[in-house]
């Protein structure tokens, strides 16, 4: 099965990184989250209700909608915070944060479960430094418009209705959905990032992840 890969790119000022990433990641997760499944004895299931919430950005002229789930929001903010820290403060830089939706495929012991991605969203971020308040004001508006375009792009991709994992049985639900949250149920996802410093060399987190996965045995 081929993994669907979508790329987005934004140029933002340093202090806009958090909000821009949250806006895009939450927009994607809004579409990739359902209500909690409640399986019934006959093999059918009912689905909980997903609430939504408007969020206004402080540093960007933009508002977005996210799933009403503090747990999910905390998890995304944590990942974005780590990305921001890795990007450094105030200096120009480039980085890429990726949101990967995957399915788990159970393997026999001693092998760990295989994670098979079925959709990957890569958001490339260029951080720019601005000289004065006037430029920052223009940047606020421009980035807001750009994020609007990215939301439209995301919606366009999602509404192509391409591959989605089949709705799982009760025993398989943890292979498809993240059931750890108490109010919503997003598809299994992970967030990775790569930082490109100004010299152009790339510091990848893939090695780290590989080692982590191996140690999870």
């Amino acid at each position: 099965m081929n993994c669907r890969s979508e790329a987005l790119e934004v140029s933002v000022e340093g202090r806009q990184v958090d909000e821009a990433m949250l806006a895009l990641l939450h927009t994607i997760l809004l579409h990739r989250s359902t209500g909690k499944f409640h399986y019934k004895k006959e093999g059918t299931y009912s689905i909980g209700t997903v609430g939504t919430q408007d969020i206004d950005c402080d540093f960007i002229d933009f508002s977005f909608v996210r799933v009403s789930s503090d747990e999910l929001d905390r998890a995304i903010r944590k990942a974005v915070g780590e990305f921001k820290d890795a990007m450094g403060n105030g200096t120009d830089g480039m980085g890429q944060i990726s949101l990967e939706f995957y399915q788990k495929k159970k393997s026999r012991w001693p092998f760990s479960d295989e994670c098979i991605p079925w959709e990957v969203w890569s958001i490339k971020v260029n951080v720019v430094n601005l000289a004065n308040e006037q430029e920052r004001q223009i940047c606020r508006e421009k980035v807001g418009e750009k994020l609007g375009e990215k939301v439209i792009n995301i919606v366009e991709v999602i509404n192509r209705h391409e591959y989605l994992p089949k709705m799982p049985t009760q025993s398989e639900v943890d292979n498809v959905f993240d059931t750890s949250l108490k109010d919503v149920q997003p598809y299994l996802y992970k967030i990775n990032f790569q930082i490109t410093d100004t010299l152009g060399t790339s510091v990848s987190t893939t090695m780290r992840r590989l080692i982590k996965d191996t140690l999870a045995l």
Binding site: L30, I152, V155
Partner: protein, 479 residues
């Protein structure tokens, strides 16, 4: 086409489409209420949350949507549209966007109604939630208040996009294939808003003065088929005048065929009620087009090309008067009296006017009094002929150029900030824009000194002759 669909599936599909249409309307209208929307996630289903989304149902909106549908469903050739428009407190209105729920003939017969179609409709509603925050009308709706409100209208049938002006853009929210056709949800939005940036709806000091006659409790009166998304009573900190002035300025900018007139001499209605002139705009500057209150039958949007001044007898609430800039410079001037004004024009001074830029006018007045160019200081008496010739002072008549005309525009020089300094760059620039000429460089001064020199020459010669011995001795020392 329908023969492949089981009766149960057909019934389910009709129900899905009906409730999808109703929820679509709710999402759109609620996104234009001007407030942030927040609903809770519930892990256990309540059974009443269609498409597993917590979307509240505003009863009036549901009622309007059902009324528009009249028992029908959106289908091929029968589109359901939600039109969002803006209406100012002065009665001007403008269509902002039209959301269309349509169906075309492309069928997907293999798709499962109760599962796939339902989930895809749920996804489409989520997309609608996201897209409604992205179109330009969202920012406008967040700032609505007593200056303007956002209205909605639901209609069924053919899509009407002519009111959106030229160059409107379309964004497709999504599509869902069903066995009876493909449901498409899209939005066409006006792009003329680009120059009506949201900043223009913020409370900023007006460039043109506008008189507010009165504030009507329900200024929006008969809105016909339009319904307010949310009309809130004014409760803002800043004065109502500014907001309405802004919207008027924006509306006039968008509705008149010519650029707005440059300046006016406003007065607050409460302050000087009788003295404010009703002066028609100059011929060169077109009148500001204003559409009188909406006709009751249909929602008729004001198009950008509309012009013509309607004398609103109910209130001369918003008027822009223009006078030539040089009028302001004079310390006294006669107010022009417009038609229907009983009181004769009076001589008034700038000081008695309640000008928004009074800071500049009196300053000009003061400067004229104290300006050395206009009233130069007297020439000091020369203490000695030598001194007199070398240091001739007294500018005599003013040789400086007349002060430039004031331009009654809030002067913001480039790169200057509205700073906290008592003298900002703008003030500095104004004050030192026309410095007095150097006394020694004026022609009058030089000619006068020459005349004086000539007159004093015989005296000087006499003195030199008397002291000729001293001079000779001095010359000897040099040799």
């Amino acid at each position: 086409m329908d023969s492949d669909l089981s009766p149960q599936d057909k019934k389910d599909l009709d129900k899905f489409i009906k409730f999808f249409a109703l929820k679509t309307v709710q999402v759109i209208v609620q996104a234009r209420l001007g407030e942030k929307v927040c609903t809770r996630s519930l892990s256990s289903p309540t059974g009443s949350d269609w498409f597993n989304l917590a979307i509240k149902d505003i009863p009036e909106v549901t009622h309007e949507a059902k009324k528009a549908l009249s028992g029908q469903l959106p289908g091929i050739g029968r589109s359901m549209c939600v039109e969002i428009s803006l209406k100012t407190s002065e009665g001007d209105s403008m269509e902002l966007e039209t959301w269309c729920l349509e169906m075309n003939e492309k069928c997907d017969k293999d798709i499962k109604v109760s599962y796939t179609v339902y989930n895809r409709l749920s996804l489409l509603l989520k997309s609608l939630l996201a897209i409604t925050r992205v179109t330009p009308a969202y920012k406008l709706s967040r700032k609505q208040g007593h200056d303007y409100v956002i209205l909605y209208r639901i209609y069924f049938g053919e899509v009407q996009l002519t009111g959106l002006g030229e160059g409107f853009q379309t964004v497709r929210v999504g599509v869902v294939g069903t066995p009876i056709g493909t449901i498409t949800l899209s939005c066409a939005y006006r792009t003329n808003l680009a120059f009506m940036s949201t900043r223009q709806f913020e409370r900023t000091a007006p460039i043109m003065g506008i008189i507010i006659d009165h504030f009507v409790e329900r200024p929006f009166g008969n809105m016909g088929h339009m319904h307010p998304c949310n009309y809130r009573a004014p409760g803002e900190d800043e004065g109502a005048y500014n907001g309405v002035e802004d919207s008027q300025e924006v509306c006039t900018t968008s509705f008149s065929t010519s650029p707005p007139s440059q300046m006016g001499i406003p007065g607050k209605e409460g302050g000087v009620p009788q003295q404010v002139p009703v002066q028609p705009c100059h011929g060169a500057q077109a009148e500001h087009g204003r559409v009188s209150s909406c006709p009751p039958a249909d929602h008729v949007p004001a198009t950008p090309s509309s012009s013509g001044e309607d004398a609103e007898t109910s209130s001369r609430s918003v008027e822009v008067k223009s006078v030539s800039p040089c009028d302001v410079l004079e310390t006294t001037f006669t107010r022009k009296v417009g038609a229907f004004v009983n009181k004769p024009g009076t001589q008034v001074t700038t000081a008695s006017l309640d000008l928004p830029f009074a800071a500049f006018a009196p300053r000009a007045y003061d400067l004229e009094e104290n300006d050395p160019m206009v009233q130069p200081p007297e020439s000091p008496a020369t203490s000695s002929p030598l001194q007199g010739s070398l240091h001739s002072q007294g500018s005599g008549e003013s040789g400086g150029p007349a002060q430039d005309d004031f331009v009654m525009v809030d002067f913001k020089p480039a790169f200057s900030k509205d700073d906290l300094l008592p003298m900002d760059l703008g003030t500095f620039y104004r004050e030192f824009q026309n410095p007095p000429q150097l006394a020694s460089l004026t022609i009058d001064v030089s000619s006068q000194s020459m005349a004086e020199d000539l007159d004093s020459l015989p005296e000087k010669l006499a003195v030199y002759e008397k002291n000729i011995d001293e001079f000779d001795a001095f010359v000897d020392t040099l040799q």
